[in-house]
């Protein structure tokens, strides 16, 4: 129990030693090169983490821009298609409406009727005059 408590409350510490000195606590003895490597590796890891974060951030931005550009291209394409087709359909409707005009059909009917009646009368009078 005491051992566990001592581990829990143990704080990181170090002591400078020269060759032949006796250490005042249990631990590992490292030379300056080993500690320098550990410290610089620690700093390098932090920097590497920043680099990876930047890379991931740039990749995400690029992907978002790509998605946006694709959607923008789709939007422009559909907008052009819609506007052009609407104009053409309006023209088409205008032309077709001329052909399906109710008033026009009525006047065609009246004209046909008058023409037919006139033709009948002409034929009748022709026959009558020639006899």
């Amino acid at each position: 129990m005491i051992f566990l408590l001592s581990l829990a409350f143990a704080e990181p510490q170090y002591q400078k030693l020269n060759a032949g000195d006796v250490a005042s606590f249990d631990g590992r003895l490292l030379n300056d090169e080993a500690i320098a490597t550990m410290i610089s590796q620690c700093e390098f890891n932090v920097e590497q983490c920043d680099i990876q974060n930047d890379l991931q951030c740039n990749m995400d931005k690029a992907k978002m821009k790509y998605d946006f550009d694709i959607l923008n291209a789709k939007y422009k394409s559909l907008e052009y298609k819609h506007e052009t087709l609407m104009k053409l359909k309006d023209e088409e409707i205008e032309i077709l409406q001329k052909h399906s005009n109710i008033n026009r059909s009525f006047w065609v009917f009246v004209g046909g009727f008058t023409l037919g009646t006139g033709a009948s009368l002409v034929t009748y009078y022709t026959v009558r005059n020639t006899q």
């Binding site: 550009d69 023209e91 020639t130």
Partner: protein, 117 residues
Amino acid sequence: MKYWLWLKKNWKWLLSALCTLGLSVLVVRARKAKDSATLADIKKKELEAVEKSSDILKDGTDEATKVFAETVKNSIEEAKRKTEIAENKREERIDELTRNSDEIDKTLRDLGVKELK
């Protein structure tokens, strides 16, 4: 003979009636032909519009893909360059710390490691 005489007498009326009829038929047919040509032209323009919209989409997609590939390539190259710089910096730091023992003490203190005197 009687018909012939009557026709000879009234041929102008008949001719004018026939001309009017023929002219009106021609006008109606010309108008219908013009409308049919316009409708065919509209259909052609519709197909062209659909094709052009596909081209717009294709061009946009190609451009977006090109930009994306370029950006990814540049980002990876930049990360590699930064990593190389960081690696060189690490080696320089090891040399610096090894040469200067006080700097190791300072760094350990900064990391929260206490020196036991």
